[in-house]
Symmetry: C2
Subunit: 674 residues, 2 copies
């Protein structure tokens, strides 16, 4: 009777056989080396074989249960660390591989690095080793109920009291309540609070950071003068296990040394000491944004893997030579949506790694007092954060929707990834605000390099190199095009750079009267150009990093990214006449689209092996439809049997609600009493 599972698994096996690339080589490539890939496997093996990290009951748990499960995983992780001698890097990798938002994530991502980089020596002496060893658990209290984006307007105050050498942290209004703080609601014992520093003379010095104890280390009760709670469930059941919290402070005193004073300090007698490099305090935020490129890439990788695997075993529609319906992945309308997502995963994961290296280089220079790379890093990470989060959200929904009805099942797995990923569009800088910062940087570079020529064109940085096309402002021109020319990555890279250049020039022309959507379009164009150039470099270096077979396929995959980026930018490209009109009324974009279709058809036989290249085990994807072996239908059936509603044959509400309804209906229909 169960013929479908056999067919599902046969389809997957055949798809896997058909490919030529070696997943092992791809895995080493995408994980940044054989050693990194092996470390990943070791960690996943530890986690996936431990019942604490089992995911089977997750879809049926309440928030309270999910929160406790997250705590149990956190505790178990540190037990594993101790048992297996895992390094700090291993633990960080494990948190990424668990890939569920955990209450402690902000301790690692914000609390610990901020105290390390900005705490005074006295503060660090008292707390640093406790923080490192999780002897205290921290959070980062920035956003308030009334203010997020506009940090300068935060209402929480920290007033210095010279008499007792203390700061008084206070929440003067309802809207000054700290809000959304991850780990604050029920977990954190301490926190770093962003508050406006008020000097003894009443002068407002703007937002600064203060270390505050939130809960007793004796019994975990909330410290006097502080009100703390969880802010409630999140949309679409996202981030359910995290206790995003609120906090209000009623004249809470902390000692002078609790001010994070690396970049700004108050002397005991109440003088404000100017920060030498105020900008340095942004470095932490840039770091978080830079890691979001990698994270976004992995989110897309999961969605694309699940959807491509399911489309490989799902058969629907017209029958082929084998008498079976076609595999859904063979429809161009399906694979032309999924393969570009696959390509973007390969792009963003590598880009993220390059960015981490660039960040390390910048940090080394910063440590030596050299801030010259900071502006470039700021522009790059702002643009990439918007591009990657926006694209990842779209790709996840594309993947989910490509799976038809079953894509709406929780067991498909993509909806959960989407719901947990969604806030990335807002946190660490709302995307619409970051767009403006990208545009500001672009206009500044344009002004210096092109208009006023105060900088030599050889001064272009990776984020401004597209401006080379404006050295002679009349040189932006369309290139004559033959149907084959899209096969050269350069064609797409130049096209995307010219588009960025033309749009920045147009934006400069309308400096004070841009249309409402222009910042978003310009920022996208500038970032697309940056990414395209980076992808060009990745393509050039492929033959050194993977085998010849893999290099050939990856080159196509990266080219697919470039071509679909051009297609995405067609409105601008056509607006500025960068793509020559064909004769007659024919569509000048047809060559491009046909090139995309051809490329997809060439990549298609390698699709399953390319998804294998990410190296996911089934525990990581936790998807009935995206199983490695393709056994989708049987797995879906199996998971369904765990649904609590299926515990009893007759639902609990029958006597109370259904039966009275049926009795009424029989009465009204004049039928015998039930």
């Amino acid at each position: 009777m169960h013929t479908a599972p056999t067919q599902n698994m046969a389809d997957m096996a055949r798809a896997r056989e058909r490919g030529a690339v070696d997943p092992a080589k791809l895995q080493a490539f995408i994980w940044g080396g054989q050693r990194e890939w092996e470390a990943k496997q070791r960690i996943v093996s530890l986690l996936s074989n431990d019942p604490v990290f089992d995911k089977a009951r997750r879809p049926f748990l309440t928030r309270t249960e999910l929160y406790q499960r997250a705590l149990a995983m956190t505790k178990r992780l540190y037990e594993l660390k101790d048992e297996h001698g895992m390094s700090t890097t291993d633990v960080a990798a494990a948190v990424q591989l668990i890939a569920e938002p955990l209450p402690m994530v902000l301790h690692d991502a914000a609390f610990e690095p901020i105290v390390r980089s900005q705490g005074s020596p006295e503060l660090k002496k008292e707390f640093q080793d406790l923080i490192v060893n999780r002897g205290i658990l921290g959070c980062y209290l920035q956003t308030e109920l009334g203010h997020g984006t506009n940090v300068a307007a935060l209402e929480t105050t920290a007033t210095y009291i010279p008499e007792s050498r203390e700061f008084e942290i206070h929440s003067p209004t309802l809207t000054s309540s700290k809000w959304w703080v991850g780990g604050l609601g029920k977990t954190a014992t301490h926190g770093v609070v962003q508050a406006r520093l008020i000097m003894p003379d009443g002068k407002d010095m703007g937002p600064h950071l203060f270390f505050v104890q939130l809960r007793s280390l004796e019994d975990h009760r909330v410290m006097p003068g502080i009100t703390i709670g969880d802010i409630g469930p999140k949309a679409m059941a996202g981030y359910a296990a995290v206790d995003n919290g609120y906090a209000r402070f009623d004249h809470v005193r902390v000692p002078l040394k609790y001010m994070l004073s690396a970049f700004a300090a108050v002397t005991p007698d109440g003088r404000y000491v100017q920060p030498p490099h105020a900008k340095l305090s942004y470095a932490g935020m840039l770091y978080i944004r830079s890691t979001m490129v990698t994270t976004g890439g992995w989110a897309i990788a999961k969605g694309a893997t699940i959807a491509i695997r399911y489309a490989t075993v799902r058969r629907q529609g017209s029958k082929g030579a084998d008498g079976l319906e076609r595999q859904v992945i063979t429809y161009p309308s399906v694979h032309y949506r999924l393969l570009p997502a696959l390509a973007r995963a390969y792009v963003f994961i590598l880009l993220g790694r390059n960015l981490s290296k660039a960040f390390s280089a910048m940090s080394a220079r910063l440590a030596a007092g050299d801030t010259s790379l900071l502006a470039e890093m700021h522009a790059t990470t702002s643009g990439l954060k918007v591009l990657v989060t926006t694209t990842a959200i779209e790709d996840l929904e594309t993947a989910r929707r490509s799976m038809g009805g079953h894509g709406f099942s929780e067991f498909a797995g993509v909806g959960r990834i989407y719901a947990d990923y969604l806030p990335a569009a807002t946190y660490e800088g709302d995307n619409y605000v970051l767009d403006q910062q990208v545009v500001r940087a672009a206009l500044k570079a344009y002004d210096g390099l092109v208009v006023r020529r105060t900088r030599a064109i050889t001064d272009v940085t990776p984020s401004t190199s597209y401006l080379q096309h404006l050295v002679d402002r009349e040189t932006i021109s369309s290139s004559p095009r033959t149907p084959g020319s899209w096969e050269d990555p350069k064609a797409s890279i130049v096209m995307l750079e010219k588009r960025a250049a033309a749009m920045v020039a147009e934006r400069a022309r309308h400096l004070h009267d841009p249309d409402a959507g222009s910042d978003h379009r310009v920022a996208r164009a500038v970032t697309d150009a940056f990414v395209a150039a980076q992808v060009g470099e990745i393509i050039d270096s492929l033959s050194d990093t993977v085998g010849a077979q893999e290099a050939t396929v990856l080159r196509k995959l990266y080219l697919l990214h470039l071509l679909t980026a051009v297609e995405h930018g067609l409105v601008d490209i056509l607006s500025f006449g960068l793509l020559p009109r064909s004769e007659g009324r024919a569509d000048p974009a047809r060559d491009l689209r046909m090139a995309i279709d051809r490329l997809c058809a060439e990549i298609l036989p390698e699709a399953i092996r390319l998804t294998d290249g990410f190296g996911f085990v089934d525990w990581e994807l936790d998807s009935a439809l995206g199983r490695y072996d393709g056994n989708a239908y049987e797995e879906l059936w199996k998971r369904t049997q765990l649904e609590p509603l299926n515990k009893s044959e007759v639902a609990d509400g029958y006597e109370d609600y259904i039966k009275p309804l049926l009795v009424r209906g029989h009465r009204l229909a004049g039928r015998p009493k039930l």
Copy 2:
């Protein structure tokens, strides 16, 4: 201390004062008449004042609890019907106004109409009045685990046994399990099963419909030979209260009269009687699709109302003349995204009503055996279903994201609407499949009207009138344009019609080698053109249906829809040279975008009153951020206090998980034992 609530409410009151349109007139307009609007108010008043329909605990309930709550609401609804003498129309309206997916929705939308329109007289005699009075509860079993879109390949069989004059319903495989069936899991007592009719000689007649009893009316236990269960949770916690179910049939016998035989029958001795109008069986599906236009419009209306209200009271960023930060709605980057959504709500709600009228007209003709309107209705509803569901999903996410961090709170309300609305992109015809049907109809019309001229151009229907631009195939031309010309709705309508015509002609040119995305783009262009023409008619009739003041504002709102539809179609419009290039490298789309910005600025003072025009009470929106009085922050705080995690000061997991972690950390840091 609570100054923010005062400010919130003052901002909302001021925004309301500033507008000129009369919400009461808009409400009568959007509800289709004063009587309809008053009926809606009566029903909402009944529901919102009844504790059974209270929504306060909803965010914290498990699926099992949500299911029982939905049953309780269903039972209570029929009690209210009896108590208040509500009509069937009132009850249907109440179900819409409850606006939560309920287990019984498919009884109303599919089971009842299908039995009514296709059941044999004998079947109806036995069950019709029970169905009408909910003495039995039904569902509609079409989709299977292995097949959705391709109905012809469904695997469930119904084999006729002439000896006993019965059909034997059977699920031969795992993949033939009926799946996703709303109300099947725990609720329905009966169902209509789609199964391939197998004649006694083994001949397969393809899918037909059969009435089947699923559960005992005595004790609600599942009937012998049938296996039934709930398919588990849905993505993003959507549709949580509905028991979408699966069912497998093991040689289950039903009598001959249980075949729904209005369009196809089997004689007692086992002969198949051909259906006279096979197409008639599609009418029900067209009806459901046509109602989805209205539903999508109301979903957008809710999202836009919540987001516009919150953006009115949220202040962030630079300070204005009043010394306060700017209201977020005043930023062009915010309102140019929200006002077009508001416009689309006003478009789709009216379009849906027009479509219902057209559907009634068609049904009257169908009853007289005239199928001439069926093809037109099919093409129109397919295209609109795709356009409306795609757009509504985008608009809901745009609304959610415009609210920044708080938009990700469950209490914002938009995430829940999104999760419940999302499957509309897939059910009742996957959008990607419907695209093809729209294109097929368009190519057929193009062939008849333009290429072979077998039909006179005066034969154009509303869905093909854009083809008039191809009567002389060389006449599609760009129109010289002055900055003011976008103010005339005709300019946009003609532009969208020309775009559709050019794209259909291009699609015909590449009949056998379209690019992979072309069906989607062509279907969108054709539907945009249809909607634009309809909007033109709505604009023309405004002065008859609302006051002069309201007509002026609504005209702007409808024009905004047209302009943003043109902007959305710019790639095609530019590809086919329909928008003349400006001189130099200037962006030819700038005029259009500036016209959109100007129009948004003109509509802005009326935005709050336009949202009031939908007539929502707070109970309907159930949003902390979208309250009528603007008291967003205080409401958010209030709802947070209901979160179960906040019941105790110290979380339940403290002793088991947090404390051991802290103890370990203190030990490793060499600190005194906690």
